[in-house]
Every structure is written in structure tokens, then in C-alpha cells.
């Protein structure tokens, strides 16, 4: 059955791509419409089902879709909205949500303003992480671009200023500065809820509230041809997930009650560089994370992970591109062997060596194959209960393939 679904989905996408090969967008009444849909398959080591539920046996619960509508109202003003949904088995469940929706007024090249639900900057690729056609890899390095945390760094309701400032022989600087509140419209289907459930703190999550969130980006196009250096930072002052405590919670008196799990002063800092020379693109990113965790039961703790990756991609021709990266993610930046005490000793880190092939069937259809050799279980431990993570293998693999149609 699963094979039939994949085959039919694949054929449908290829046919759509064939018939749309000459069209770059749909236009209806002055509105520009774009979208994409992806269907993938993931197979991992049996005891390490990641990053999709059921990956140990092989899983098709790996898809995304989006559609956006935009209109240029004046030379300086445009508006748009994008709906997005995904399924990872652990979270998502294909529930559509408003990905972004804002008005963008560009007063000058050096100063524009966006108001509404605006995308948040984070590293080099956060604003485009969802669309498979825009990158070489199926999975971006999961340290900096942890898909489980997407909802906490994707977009926020508020405003932003942005612009580009030429700097003569120094190149140019682009910036974004924004403030708002993160809205998670389907809290029980979010990645954060999946983690809270895996930890046994809730059987379902009824809502997730955030207080003021700040985010910024400075992108320096250096005088060296093809070299950019980017710094991004964000701060969520408070994020609270309210959930129902499961019936098997070991401490009496809590089962069935609604309790909060709180993250305070959640700060992320990413320093990135990207170098492009012809068809070769090299990237290096380093991130530090810092947040205070206040579960409803037990002591508060300070979490200080760090992560980095280095990647290289090369496009051989219009049809074929090859990419590889090595990434590492550590639970504690001060002690790379210290992990969550409830989990296995391998939970202190996760290192990932990845190789990807990308095939552009045409401008609208992309097919990819990707293999991961992984050591450690840090990120795996975020979606599995401790007892299950303790049985996971330290050295494991994950294979993914994905077909995407976009216009």
C-alpha cells in the first residue's frame, strides 16, 4: 500500500512538472501564486527511529506542502500570505497553518518595514528551510536547523525593519531587526509538544504561549567575490507549554491536571559564513543556545548546547548536484560528554556525516537521495522516551529520499 502511495504521488508530481515546465508562477487577477508539495521516505536503524516516526521500519510520514499568494499593490508595497503543512509522524500531522502573512513597505533600499506574521532570521537558511527545492540537502544540519524546533524560530506576529546599505569597497550590509510574539496555531501538533510528550510530562499540549521575542540578522557581503559573513540572534523571553499530565506520571497528585513547562530567556546566536565560487558552495555555521528550563515538577536547569557544521555542494550540470556535510551537536558546550542524566551516555552528542544527490528533473520537479552516518543520540532523545532511547544504538544510519514539485 505504501509503495503504491509513493508511486502514485511520484507519478503525479512528475506529470504536473511536465505540464507546468514552461510556467514559473500562476497569476490570477494580479495575484501571484506559488507553491510546492513534497513526499519522502525515511529508513533508519531499527532502534533509532529518527527524524520521522516509524523510520526504524521505514516511513512515508514525511511530507510538506505550501501555497502562497502575493500582490504588488504599489511600487513600494506588497502583501502576501503562505499556508504551510507538514508531517513527521512525531509532529505536524499535515495540519495547515499560516506560515507567514505580512505587508511589506519598502520606503528606501536601506529601510523597509514589514508588519504581520513575519519570518524569523536564524543562520543562513532558516527563512527557506521548508522548501526542498531551495537547497541541496533533504535534511539541513539538524543542530542549527533542528526541525523539531521549527515552530519556535519560524515566524512571529509583530514587525520588522530591514534594508541593504552599500559600503563601497567594504561590500554591502543587509540587516533585519524584528520584535513580536511567536504564535503556534496547532500546539498539540508542534515539535515542542512532541518533545514534552516524549519526556512524559504531558499526554497532550493544549496551548503554547510566548512573551516578547526579538530577532535580528546582519549579513555582510564582503569585498571578496562570493564570500558572505552572517550573524543572527534571537531571544524568546518566555515560552510556556501547557499540557495534561499523563495518567502514568510517577508522582501522585499530578495525573490529569494541566501543568506548564516553561523555557525562559531562550537565546540563540549563530555565526555563519558562506563562500560561492561558480558551482561550488561552502558553508560553515556555529551556534550557541542558552535557556532556562522550568518544568512543573523538579528543579529548574540551565541548558547550554552548542552546534556547528561544515558543508560543501557542487552542481555538475543543470540536472545533477552533489552535497555533503559534517555536523555536531552537544548537550553541554562546557562538557561534550555530559548529557541528560535520564538518558544514555551517548545522549551527550550527535554527530552526522551526510552525503546527498539532487536531480533536477526539470525546473519544477526535484528528486533527492541522502544517506546519514550518525554517532550519538542527542537529537534522537528529543523524540523518544528515556527508556526507548536507552536501547538505541550509538552508531546508526538514516536514509532518505524525497520528490518535490514546485511552481
Amino acid at each position: 500500500m505504501k509503495t503504491k502511495i509513493l508511486f502514485i504521488s511520484g507519478m503525479l508530481l512528475v506529470i504536473m512538472g511536465h505540464f507546468c515546465a514552461s510556467a514559473s508562477a500562476l497569476e490570477v487577477g494580479g495575484f501571484e501564486i506559488h507553491g510546492w508539495a513534497s513526499q519522502g521516505f525515511v529508513q533508519s536503524t531499527e532502534k533509532n527511529p529518527y527524524p520521522v516516526k516509524g523510520a526504524g521500519e521505514g516511513s512515508f510520514r514525511f511530507n510538506e506542502y505550501a501555497i502562497n499568494v502575493s500582490k504588488q499593490l504599489t511600487d513600494n508595497l506588497h502583501v502576501g500570505i503562505q499556508l504551510f503543512g507538514q508531517d513527521r509522524g512525531y509532529y505536524g500531522n499535515d495540519k495547515p497553518q499560516i506560515d507567514w502573512a505580512y505587508a511589506d513597505y519598502r520606503a528606501f533600499d536601506w529601510l523597509g518595514i514589514r508588519v504581520g506574521k513575519v519570518k524569523m532570521p536564524h543562520g543562513l537558511y532558516n527563512e527557506t528551510r521548508d522548501n526542498d527545492m531551495l537547497r541541496t540537502f533533504i535534511f539541513l544540519p539538524q543542530g542549527v536547523y533542528n526541525d523539531l524546533r521549527r515552530d519556535t524560530i519560524n515566524s512571529q506576529l509583530g514587525g520588522a525593519i530591514y534594508g541593504t546599505i552599500p559600503a563601497g569597497k567594504m561590500g554591502s550590509f543587509s540587516y533585519v531587526a524584528e520584535v513580536g510574539n511567536i504564535l503556534i496555531s496547532s500546539p498539540n501538533d508542534s515539535g515542542l509538544a512532541a518533545q514534552v510528550k516524549a519526556q512524559g510530562l504531558a499526554s497532550d499540549v493544549s496551548d503554547i504561549d510566548t512573551s516578547t521575542t526579538y530577532a535580528g540578522k546582519l549579513d555582510w557581503q564582503t569585498p571578496v567575490e562570493g564570500l558572505r559573513i552572517v550573524g543572527t540572534a534571537s531571544l524568546i523571553t518566555t515560552m510556556t507549554a501547557n499540557g495534561t499530565v499523563p495518567n502514568n506520571f510517577p508522582v501522585p497528585g499530578y495525573a490529569g491536571t494541566t501543568q506548564p513547562a516553561v523555557a525562559k530567556d531562550w537565546a540563540r546566536h549563530v555565526l555563519s559564513t558562506e563562500y560561492t565560487r561558480g558551482d561550488l558552495v561552502l558553508a560553515l555555521e556555529y551556534e550557541q543556545i542558552r535557556l532556562k528550563l522550568q518544568p512543573f515538577f523538579g528543579p529548574s536547569s540551565l541548558s547550554t548546547p552548542e552546534t556547528y557544521y561544515v558543508s560543501a555542494t557542487y552542481r555538475f550540470n543543470d540536472f545533477f548536484e552533489l552535497g555533503a556535510y559534517y555536523s555536531a551537536y552537544y548537550y553541554d558546550k562546557n562538557d561534550h560528554h555530559k548529557g541528560n542524566p535520564a538518558y544514555s551516555e551517548n545522549n551527550a552528542w550527535q554527530k552526522d556525516l551526510t552525503l546527498t544527490t539532487r536531480f533536477d528533473i526539470n525546473k519544477h520537479v526535484v528528486l533527492k537521495f541522502e544517506g546519514h552516518l550518525i554517532n550519538g543520540t542527542y537529537l534522537l532523545g528529543e523524540v523518544l522516551p528515556a527508556a526507548q532511547e536507552n536501547n538505541a544504538q550509538e552508531n546508526w544510519f538514516m536514509f532518505a529520499t524525497k520528490l518535490t514539485f514546485g511552481f
Binding site: W36, D109, L134, T276, G278, R315, D318, K363
Partner: protein
């Protein structure tokens, strides 16, 4: 004013609408225009650029002036479209359409092989 790209066996010229006062542009300015970073001429008028969808002239111009391959340029604009930063740039399938767009739109700029230049547009140089 004709820019030759031996790597792509192609040559191209930069053309603008006749109401554009500039007679030359720096490479950085041209790059900024086609990446959507520079949206106004020095006199404040709106820049409207047009790109070819494919071909040797398209490849040569993007690589020589914009500093991107055709795939990188396509994905650059897709990123802007899918995060709401911009609508898609105006693109045409051949040089005649590019010349027509530049002729009929104030503040327009494009690139074509010099074989297709007519006296309805102005050719400017890249410094």
C-alpha cells in the same frame, strides 16, 4: 559597450528605457538591481528589471555580472518568493520580448545580445 563572455561564447549589452538618465552603471549597481537590492535610480524613479528565462546570453550575464549561476539565481529569487520578501522578477522567453519590455516600461533595464538592440532603447555600459 558590448560585453563578451568567452566562457559562454556569448556577448551581451545592457539596455535601459530611454527615460533613464544614466549612461553607465558600476558592476555592483547592476548586480544589486538584478538581486532586488537596488530598486531606485539615482533620480528616485523605480527600477524595473527584466530577465531572460534561459540561453547563453542569460548564463553569461548572470555569471559575469551578477556572480551567480542560473540555478543559483533561480533559487535566490525562489527564496525571496517563498519567504514573502518579493514577488517573482519579470522574465521573458526571448530577446525581442526583453527589448519590448524595456521600451514600454519607464525605468526598465535588461540585457540582450547586441543583435537585438533597436533604437527604441538606450545601451549603457558596465564600468
Amino acid at each position: 559597450m558590448v560585453h563578451v563572455s568567452p566562457a559562454y561564447s556569448a556577448s551581451y549589452v545592457l539596455i535601459v528605457n530611454k527615460n533613464v538618465s544614466a549612461n553607465s552603471l558600476s558592476r555592483n549597481d547592476v548586480r544589486s538591481i538584478f538581486l532586488g537590492e537596488k530598486s531606485r535610480w539615482d533620480d528616485g524613479k523605480t527600477v524595473r528589471f527584466v530577465v531572460l528565462e534561459e540561453g547563453a546570453v542569460h548564463r553569461a550575464f548572470l555569471q559575469d555580472v551578477v556572480g551567480k549561476t542560473t540555478q543559483q539565481f533561480l533559487n535566490y529569487w525562489r527564496k525571496k518568493i517563498f519567504n514573502g520578501e518579493s514577488l517573482a522578477p519579470k522574465s521573458v522567453v526571448n530577446a525581442q520580448e526583453a527589448v519590448r519590455f524595456v521600451t514600454t516600461n519607464a525605468g526598465a533595464i535588461g540585457y540582450v545580445s547586441d543583435d537585438y538592440v533597436t533604437n527604441s532603447v538606450k545601451v549603457i555600459s558596465i564600468e
